[in-house]
Amino acid sequence: MAEEVVGMDYLTRWPRKLLTVYTPLAGFLVILLFPFYWMTVTTFKSNEELYNYKDYNPLWIHSPTLDNVKRLLFDTDYPQWLAITMTVAVVATFISLFASVLAAYAIQRLRFKGGQTVGLMIYLAYLVPPSILFIPLATMVFQFGLYDSPIALILTYPTFLIPFCTWLLMGYFKSIPYELEECALVDGATRIQILWKITLPLAVPGLISAGIFAFTLSWNEFIYALAFISSVEKKTVPVAVLTQLVEGDVYHWGSLMAGALLGSLPVAIIYSFFVEHYVSSLTGAVKE
């Protein structure tokens, strides 16, 4: 964004802007970030401090401790859950990217008969929510003998990743001038060479956007992982934190918040590196 469109902004005076822009904006930021602050503060508190609001101000940590994180990493299967979630997310992302690149290229560039209809169907597929699919999928997973196996997740996650990635990549391929491909065709390159050597290198930003988005969506997925996996050691982080760290009516809020915090970190780190890709794919997918 080289040049900001400021419009008539310069007409607004300082004190007025403080009241109408900065104050509400600060309010939004505080409310949007507070749950994460509270998660972090709770993670590093000792138990006596955590449940004693009279002697300690709950908004601050008086004697920080790593007990909760230690308990999480060494007394539970948390590292295992992280590994499973990471594997499922990475494999599902690569399968979806592979299928989506080919599909998006075929729809956008090969211009086969009925291509537009297929594009529309893929858009509609994105609108089918997992909450109506998980019951029939559960019966299929049983029949295929995949119940309680991460493979069930790897195979079902592409159902919501492929529509999104294909839609996003179609937009990227569209922005690459067709003349480049025509030149290569005239020079005798095959279609596969064109895709591999010309279109894909130019679509790298789109591939990164689709990839990190697919990874984030897989990492955040909940209902399939809840319905298809039952063994403690095979659960994904979101499911395991919710089902394994709560013991009866005793909530260990310290460990729970530590689990939530650590489980959010991988996506938060990727996000911090690729913010612009997230914003462009989010708004691009809506605007297309």
Binding site: G7, A99, S100, F112, P129, L242
Partner: protein, 321 residues
Amino acid sequence: MPGPDMAIAAERKRVAQPTGSWVARTLDNPGVLAFLFMLPAATLLLVFLTYPLGLGIWLGFTDTKIGRSGVFIGLENYESLFQDSMFWLAVSNTVLYTVFATIGKFALGLWLALLLNNHLPAKALIRSIILVPWIVPTVLSALAFWWIYDPQFSIISWALTEMGLIDHYIDFLGTPNNARASLIAANIWRGIPFVAICLLAGLQTISPSLYEAAALDGATSWQRFRHITLPMLMPILAVVMTFSILFTFTDFQLIYAITRGGPAGTTHLMATLAFQRAIPGGQLGEGAAIAVAMIPFLLFATLFSYFALARRKWQQGGSDD
């Protein structure tokens, strides 16, 4: 003597020769190639999306249970759901949840987008911070809300008590209406960033000259908002709202993480009730029927989105490609 041009032409001719085998030539046929390229995506989507969608509708007409395949029982599941007060409570909860959460998300999201559309220092940083609630796994941020809504140690109750506004702690999740309001608040919190960033993208496409012209004509800031911003924003607003309504209506994670439908099943949405009956309850047929009951609404939302998209293209003067 052949000049450089001829050398290039000869080179081109050499390269353009059908050098490959029969396989290579077939692969270069656009029709064959398109079919092969569509194959992985089409297979995955047909097997794990289209087929289960049909299977779900079929299961709704059977009495399938976990570990036992069912038989066709016609509309029996729907007849029993029709008399099931729990089902109707879930339907009304779902509608209320969608309506209030959508109004909240769009009112606050539009406000935030308008704030961000001002000239601000560190705007990119603010924008990236705002998206964080949307990036983090819903269940994990919902856990933070569960802790914030704790009856004994709620930080909100503590803060309000310290300020002298209340004298006893609020029971956020203990009574049906409190629990519903708390869930809606958490859903709004999570939805604001998505709405705000999408609408901001829409706002940035509006030419400032429109505002300048209106201001010269003496339009007030409300009139500029009402007659320039809103109409120009309408197409993208319609699309974002369709997505938002769709995902709010079929929401599962937030409710499952914070209340699991409680207290006493009064905060179930259709998705959580379907899960409750199908997986822990084992009644796959009945659960499928509840899930299928969501489809008419989703169809309506999808058609709405389709026509909004068509209208947007028409407004931009684009062709239908």
